[in-house]
């Protein structure tokens, strides 16, 4: 899939270059107003950008995972999830299986992280594991692996740092221009020849730029993010050969009102659905990191097959747009990809939502190193690790159990 990655990079490179130009423009204005030299301001902007890059580098790929209170899990603890990630690693042809993390949160969501496919990780919430059946979970995992395969995780990390630098610089610059800038400008005009009116206009232009730059950067970043979501959906359909799995998962996730506790604004683009969406919010506006779920579901459901070409056709059809979402170079990379039947026949019989909830909660307690005592009366007692208790009495039936 070399061509696919390359095509994505070219398209996204334009957005990146534009954001880079914005950063330079901000530096230019800062230099002009505060240092008297535009070049100095650009250097300062680049230094700030470099520092933020270093910070990100040192915090590494794990920043998202540590922010989200994620815990790494193995195959024994969550066999179904682990197997599905393995399956999708094979289907996507990733060189290495991503690490698997669990976030103990009832809101169903998932994200991928990692600058390189070799060092990638995927995290899902316990709520997701409870709500989704095998096909749906497979769709979500495939979507996240699509992000890794398409290098979105890297791209969004770089874009996020650029955005952060622009926001930071223009915030401070606009404050200073607004409160202290006029007097500075006045002093300079006193030394030179220009009239005060012209100076004022230049200051106003500066302030306007400082206000518009972060907004423009944010819109660019979000536009990038939205395109990437569609592309990851296309990848998920191709890997699973079952677009309905992801479509139905998205619907279930959208139908859950709970907001994810662990997310913040910086990490939002990484999730499969926007963790901040409000109940009933349908608008796909420019300031959204994700396309509206209803559109994504409609595109997935109107696919005639599971190939990139099928997704592209469905996208054009649903969105009524001439431009597709899959890079042209990637369209011919696979042959016909017929949709497979749902996997309910071979699905283990215990997979009702209540059974899954019990399974997930048992596994989570085990991951937290709690010891579980099952009493004959039907109650379960979970004893914390490192406790001084040597026995526990069941409050329901009074039986004493050794610990």
């Amino acid at each position: 899939m070399w061509e696919q990655i390359r095509a994505n990079q070219i398209r996204s490179a334009f957005v990146m270059i534009f954001m880079g130009l914005l950063l330079i423009a901000v530096g230019f204005v800062i230099g002009l107003y505060f240092l008297g030299t535009a070049a100095g301001g650009i250097v300062i902007a680049l230094i700030v950008w470099g520092i933020l890059n270093l910070v990100a580098l040192f915090q590494g790929d794990n920043i998202l995972l540590s922010l989200g209170k994620a815990r790494k899990v193995n195959k024994e603890e969550f066999p179904r999830l682990y197997n599905i990630v393995e399956e999708m690693t094979i289907a996507s042809g990733l060189p290495r299986m991503p690490d698997v993390y669990i976030i103990d949160d009832p809101a169903p969501n998932a994200f991928a992280t990692g600058r390189k496919p070799e060092k990638a990780a995927i995290a899902v919430t316990s709520g997701l594991l409870q709500k989704l059946n095998r096909d749906e979970l497979q769709g979500v995992v495939a979507h996240e692996l699509g992000h890794i395969k398409n290098r979105d995780t890297l791209l969004m990390a770089i874009g996020g740092i650029l955005l952060g630098t622009i926001v930071l610089l223009s915030y401070f610059a606009s404050r200073m221009l607004f409160f202290g800038g006029a007097s500075r400008g006045g002093r300079r005009s006193g030394g030179g020849s220009g009239g005060g009116g012209a100076q004022l206009i230049i200051i106003i232009i500066g302030i306007v730029l400082m206000i518009l730059a972060p907004i423009a950067a944010r819109l660019l970043y979000f536009a990038l993010s939205r395109k990437r979501e569609y592309l990851a959906d296309a990848s998920a359909a191709l890997y699973t050969r079952y677009p309905e799995g992801l479509a139905s998962a998205l619907e279930k996730i959208a139908g859950t009102p709970t907001q994810l506790q662990a997310a913040n604004n910086a990490t939002a683009p990484m999730y499969i659905v926007n963790p901040f969406r409000k109940a009933g919010q349908a608008a796909s506006n420019l300031s959204s990191t994700h396309p509206p779920i209803s559109d994504r579901v409609r595109v997935l459901r109107s696919m005639g097959g599971a190939s990139f070409a099928d997704y592209d056709a469905a996208y054009r059809n649903v969105r009524g747009s001439r431009g597709g979402v899959v890079p042209r170079g990637a369209l011919g990379l696979t042959g016909d990809a017929p949709v497979r039947p749902p996997s309910t026949e071979t699905e283990p019989v215990t997979q009702t939502e209540a059974a899954r909830a019990r399974e997930v909660s048992d596994a989570l307690w085990k991951t937290n190193k709690y010891q579980t005592v099952e009493c004959e009366c039907g109650a379960k007692l979970r004893v914390p690790p490192g406790t001084s208790l040597s026995q526990v009495k069941c409050p329901r039936c009074g039986t004493t159990h050794p610990v």
Partner: protein, 187 residues
């Protein structure tokens, strides 16, 4: 006179570069096919290992299904003997094992106690996932074969391919292919 020498050198250099990059592209495509095939192999072996365990567990609850057990064991042993066969031949044998295992799981449906057994559930999850992995590995393999075969047939890479001895690879098909495909629905 000098100009002509430079033009000839330039053409030769361009030809050499495009030859090398085409060749490298072919090597890359062939390696993808090889890696994908290795992945199929890993998953098929995993399935051979799972079958005896599964049969033993089911036997404990469903003694009277001897025919099914024998069919599964026979299909497994046959498949294991043919591990060095070509993709086409292997695909046929493996799909027989798939359908035998499908029948075994269908039999298990009739025994509620078996379906509640933790060991059986874990094995069932493993088998389900291994079947999936086989089919995803096959999917990826066939896409890789398609890309390699396209390169060995399309102009101009077919010239480089025939000069350096690249051959089209064989698809991994299963006889179940037709049944597995859902009807294409158009909206």
């Amino acid at each position: 006179m000098d100009l002509w020498i430079w033009i000839v050198i330039g053409v030769v250099v361009i030809l050499a570069i495009s030859f090398i990059s085409t060749y490298n592209g072919l090597v890359r495509a062939r390696n993808q096919v090889k890696n994908a095939w290795a992945q199929i192999d890993v998953q098929l072996k995993r399935r051979y290992d799972l079958v005896p365990n599964l049969v033993e567990t089911v036997k404990g609850y469903a003694r009277h299904e001897r025919e099914t057990f024998e069919m599964v064991t026979k299909a497994r042993n046959l498949a294991q003997q043919l591990t060095s066969a070509g993709a086409g031949e292997r695909g046929r044998v493996e799909s027989e094992l798939s359908s035998a295992l499908g029948r075994l799981l269908a039999v298990a449906e009739n025994y509620p106690e078996l379906k509640a057994n933790q060991n059986f559930l874990a094995l069932q999850e493993e088998l389900t996932s291994t079947e999936n992995k086989i089919s995803f590995a096959r999917q990826y393999y066939n896409d890789a074969v398609l890309r390699l075969n396209n390169r060995t047939q399309e102009f101009p890479s077919n010239i480089v391919a025939s000069m350096t001895g690249f051959k089209a690879a064989e698809y991994f098909e299963t006889t179940l292919e037709a049944e597995r495909q859902a009807p294409r629905v158009s909206f």
